[in-house]
Symmetry: C2
Subunit: 256 residues, 2 copies
């Protein structure tokens, strides 16, 4: 590991960041009919973890979450929301520079100001796998999508953060039809149903599902069908943001 690079990294955020406040992003996608999350490591053998980073002094947490996601993954403009804050005093001790680092690289910075704990704000994000183009962040030499049921060992309390994010996603589905963020712009009802089944972890009866989805009037049926599915040519739909906003104003619930 390049010592000067580490020092520069520390230096760059020591003055700009709230060092006891971070954001961790649980980025969900669906691939091969499984719910997956993005894991990264800062450098080889540093351990798998969620993409995350420190909040800057002049940022609110939403802004920080979006910036960190962009910096660490290249993802921009995607659906993301805070769901819980993780504040166990023992959850994370700040990675103080190791003795083998040349501390002169940190000149002018009082390392004693590093806090003894970091509180993290958990965000979850939803992305469509096919439209993903990940780019590496500063230290990111590795990243991969892991099934939420096949997680490797993770740093800190990131296992817990992922499980809580999954519960939060399930809950949120009752109030906001956010699942479409996991699909391409145009999708079929069977695809939307499959998605709900994967997230909720249970099967859903087909006709009542479709009836409910269409009753909400927030999915616009297009004059196009999905071709190539043997003997079936299901209609394509598109999420209608305007109608959704109107439904929300009327206090609509979206329970499955």
């Amino acid at each position: 590991m390049d010592q000067k690079k580490v020092a520069a990294y520390f230096k760059s955020f020591l003055h700009k960041a709230e060092l006891n406040l971070s954001v961790d992003c649980v980025i969900f996608t669906i691939q091969d009919d499984r719910l997956k999350v993005l894991l990264t490591q800062l450098f080889p053998d540093s351990g798998w973890m969620l993409p995350g980073g420190f909040i800057r002094k002049d940022e609110d947490s939403d802004t920080a979450a979006n910036r960190i996601l962009l910096e660490r993954t290249g993802l921009n403009n995607i659906y993301q929301q805070q769901f819980e804050i993780f504040s166990d005093p023992g959850r994370f001790s700040f990675p103080k520079p190791k003795p083998e680092l040349n501390l002169e690289d940190f000149e002018g910075i009082d390392l004693s100001l590093l806090p003894d704990r970091v509180i993290s704000i958990g965000y979850f994000a939803l992305v469509n796998y096919e439209s993903l183009h990940l780019t590496g962040g500063l230290f990111e030499e590795d990243a991969y999508w892991s099934g939420v049921d096949e997680l490797p060992e993770l740093n800190y309390d990131h296992h817990k953060i992922i499980q809580h994010a999954r519960e939060a996603l399930r809950k949120e589905l009752y109030f906001k039809p956010i699942a479409y963020n996991l699909l391409p712009e145009k999708f079929t009802m069977p695809e939307l149903q499959k998605l709900h089944e994967i997230i909720l972890g249970r099967t859903i009866e087909r006709s009542s599902f479709q009836k409910r989805m269409l009753k909400w009037n927030i999915y616009e049926r297009l004059e196009e069908r999905r071709e190539g599915v043997a003997h079936k040519r299901p209609y394509l739909y598109r999420f209608d943001r305007e109608k959704y906003e109107e439904a929300i104003r009327h206090g609509m619930r979206f329970g499955i």
Copy 2:
């Protein structure tokens, strides 16, 4: 205002607290058929606000929320949960000691370490009005219950925190039957229904409400009736925590 008292207050938490991290508690109760929240002021004319305080260095946020509630109101062992973090950089600037204070009272404390912003974790709590016995906190010379629709001018972003807490409470009712915390230990179905109507802000059809509540099997009907209601003697019920925990394990939803 007693200058020495203010200085002692600052001193007492400067060393113990995460000065950029606070908890604000939205304590809901129902009185006269209206949803109300507890407002306090630190000292006369300091402005109305939510009971709150700084998280200590060795505390997680749940512990802090319970301690602060106890210190500021005397309430102990009540239902409370985090619902959102408020992190707008401009939401709260730390109340730096005013020039008229005698800074010698702060000897040994570097006031330049006071942060430029404070991020707050919003908690909401539910309490039964009749069993309340508020006791004043350190600076608390005033506290009162305000209807959520008749709030006075509030300090900081506390108006927003209360509105978001109300939305979070409404949402949470779909997943946890927490409303009983607002009632005495024994209650009637009409009382439980009234409570839901007040929180959700809409009327609910009586027979379908009772059918649903009883189907969940988490309210135990007692061999007692509420006396004194003209011509009606409705049965009393009690929340059954064991059956509730079991229902939760089976993934039950509690949508109204």
